[in-house]
Amino acid sequence: MGDHLIFVQGNEACVEAALYAGLGFFAGYPITPSTEIAELLSLRLPQRGGKFIQMEDEIASMCAIIGASLTGLKSMTATSGPGFSLKQEAIGYAIMTEVPCVVVSVMRGGPSTGLPTKVSQGDVMQARWGTHGDHAVIALTASNHQDLFAITVEAFNLAETYRTPVILLFDEVIGHMREKLIVPEPGEIPLVQRLRTSVREGTDYHPYLPREDGRLPMSDFGGVHRYNVTGLMHDMWGFPTDNPQVAYGLMRHLFDKIEGHVTEIARMKEFFLDDAETVLISYGSAARSALHVVENRRARGERMGLLELQTLWPFPSGAVRERCNQAKFVVVVEMNMGQILLEVKKAVDDPERVFLANRIDGTFISPTDIRNILRVIQGKGV
C-alpha cells in the first residue's frame, strides 16, 4: 500500500483518477486554476499511448473530445470560469448527440475574469443551465482528495452509463490544496465500459434507438457501422427531423434518462444527521469548514449534522427533503449567492427554515465565518 500513498494537489488527484478510469484522450486550453490538469496529462498520457492535444481555445477542446469519444476513447477536458463559458454550446451538442465525456471545471471567482486565483462556487447554476435549451445534466463534486479520486472515476462511469457529458465541478481550494491520497489498486473501484452494439456489420444499426432500459448501445464512430450524428433534432438513425412526435420522444428520453435516475446518480455523505436539529448542507471545499463546525458542536452536545452533497445535478431533492424534515434550521454553506440554497428551499417542506451561510469575496469560507452566521440564524445575537 505504501507505494500508492501520494501527497498531491486536487488537480493531480483528478489526473490520477482519470488515468485510473481509462482516460484515452484529453484536449484542453490553459486557464487558472485548472491548468495543472493539462500540464500533467501532457506528460502522462503519451507514456501510455493516450492522446493529449492543446487546442486553440476551450471551444475547440470541447469539440475535439466529443469527436474522440465518438470513436470509442474515454475523453476529458478541463477548464475554469471563462473557459467553462466558452464550452457551453458544445456541451449542449454532447448532450443532444449523447456522447459520453467528462468536463472538469475548477471554479474561481467570477463573473468575467473575476478572481482568477481565488476560490468560488459560483458556477453551480451554469453547470446546470449553461447551455441553451431544456436539458438534463450530471454534475459532481468532492471535498477532499480521496473523494475527488472516487468521484472522478464515478464521472467516467456515469458518462458511459448514461451517454452524457458529466461535469466535475471542483473549486480552487480543492484544485490547489495539497493532501494525501491513497491511489486505489486496479479493480478496487469498478469501471464502467461503454455499452457497445451487438448489431453486426451490414445489418441496419439504429444509433439513436434506446433499449427498453433507456440505454443506447454505441458503435465506435469510424468502425463497422456508418451513421449520422447531428445536433439537430433527430430520429433513430440520427437524421434530422422536425416531426413533433419524434422531437417529443427525444426530449423525453434525454431528460428521463437522467432525471428518472436521480437516486442512482445521487452521491452524498452524511455526518451526525440522525437527531440533528440544525442541518448544514454543503459541498466542495466549503463542506470541509462545515464539517469542522459540526464536529466541534457535537463535541459540545449540540445536535448538529452535515449533509455533504457530491451529486449537485440532478439535484437529489427527495433525499434532501428527507434529511431535513426533522430540522429546526437548515443552513446551506456555499461560496456563492445561494445557488444550492434555491434548490434546497424548493426541496424542503418549509423553505422559511432554510438559511444561507456564504462568502463571495474570493476568500475561503472558514469555520469562524460559519459560526458567526449560525449565531445570527440561531438567534443568539451577533
Binding site: 503519451p46 471551444i59 475547440a60 475535439a64 473530445i65 469527436g67 474522440a68 449520422n228
Partner: protein, 267 residues
C-alpha cells in the same frame, strides 16, 4: 460504384435550392472518392452548420454534423483518436472563415491530415443572405443594404500563410479540375485546402443582380484563369485557379506518434 451508391437515398431530396452549386460539389467529391478507390467506411465527413454543411447527411460515410464553425475542431478529435481514417471537412465560407476562422488557421498550422473543402458562395445562404468574409467590397447582402464595406479574405493566401501543405482553388464551372483537385487533396498527407467558388443564386445572385445559376457559372468561366496565365497580367482582377501549394511537411498525427515513442522511452 455509381455515384448513387454513396448517397443516402432515404434522405433525398436534399434541401438545396434549384441551381445551387453545393450539389455540383457533392457530385464531384463523390467521384473523387470513387476514383481514389476509398471504401465508404474509411471516410469520416465532418461538417458545421450552413447549407453547405448539410452535405454530410446525404452521403453514406461516417458523418458528423456539428455546430457552426467548429467542424475542424471535431475533426481534429476524430483524426487524432483514429489517424487511419480519412477525414473530409466541407465548410461554407462563413462557417470556415468567420466563426471558424481561428480553427481553420490552427488546423493549417498543425498540418493535420484533414481535407478542408471550402464551398465559397460569398454569402450566408442558410440564414438568408447576410454578407460573409468572402462577399467582397461593394456587394449587397441583407446586412449590407448600402453595400459591403469589407474587403474579402484571400483563402489561398490565408491557408498558405497559416501552414496548409496543399492549397488549391477551383469553381463549380470547372468540374473536371474540381474532381481532380479534390482527389489530389485527399491523397495529400497533411492539411489540404480546396476552395471552390460556388453559386448561391437564391441570395448572392438575387441580391447582387448577377443573374441565375447559369449566368453565375459563366461568370466563373470568364473571370477565372489558370495560375500563371498571361491574361492575369493584363487584368489583375481575374481570379487564379489551380494548385498553389503542394508541399511535403511533417504531419501532426505522425509527429504525435513520435512524441509517444519519446514518452514511452522516458516514462
Amino acid at each position: 460504384m455509381a455515384v448513387m451508391d454513396y448517397v443516402r437515398e432515404r434522405f433525398m431530396p436534399h434541401i438545396w435550392c434549384p441551381g445551387c452549386g453545393h450539389g455540383t460539389i457533392m457530385n464531384n467529391l463523390v467521384r473523387a472518392i470513387e476514383s481514389l478507390g476509398l471504401k465508404k467506411s474509411e471516410i469520416v465527413m465532418v461538417t458545421g452548420i450552413g447549407c453547405s454543411s448539410r452535405i454530410s447527411g446525404y452521403l453514406d460515410f461516417h458523418t458528423l454534423h456539428t455546430i457552426h464553425g467548429r467542424a475542424l475542431a471535431f475533426a481534429t478529435g476524430v483524426k487524432l483518436a483514429r489517424p487511419e481514417l480519412t477525414l473530409i471537412v466541407p465548410m461554407g465560407d462563413g462557417d470556415a472563415l468567420a466563426i471558424g476562422g481561428n480553427h481553420f488557421l490552427h488546423a493549417a498550422r498543425r498540418n493535420i491530415d484533414i481535407t478542408a473543402i471550402i464551398m465559397n458562395n460569398s454569402i450566408y445562404g442558410m440564414t438568408g443572405g447576410q454578407f460573409s468574409p468572402l462577399s467582397g467590397y461593394g456587394k449587397t447582402a441583407t446586412t449590407a443594404p448600402y453595400g459591403n464595406i469589407y474587403e474579402s479574405f484571400d483563402i489561398v493566401q490565408l491557408a498558405k500563410a497559416a501552414g496548409a501543405s496543399f492549397v488549391g482553388r477551383t469553381t463549380t464551372y470547372h468540374v473536371t479540375s474540381m474532381m481532380e483537385m479534390i482527389e489530389e487533396a485527399i491523397r495529400h498527407k497533411g492539411f489540404s485546402v480546396v476552395e471552390i467558388l460556388t453559386q448561391c443564386p437564391t441570395y448572392f445572385g438575387r441580391k447582387n443582380k448577377v443573374g441565375d445559376a447559369v449566368d453565375m457559372l459563366n461568370y466563373y468561366k470568364d473571370h477565372t484563369v489558370p495560375i500563371g496565365s498571361d491574361k492575369k497580367k493584363e487584368n489583375p482582377a481575374l481570379i487564379e485557379r489551380g494548385v498553389f501549394v503542394r508541399e511535403e511537411r511533417a504531419e501532426y498525427c505522425e509527429e504525435y506518434e513520435k512524441t509517444v515513442k519519446r514518452a514511452e522511452k522516458g516514462g
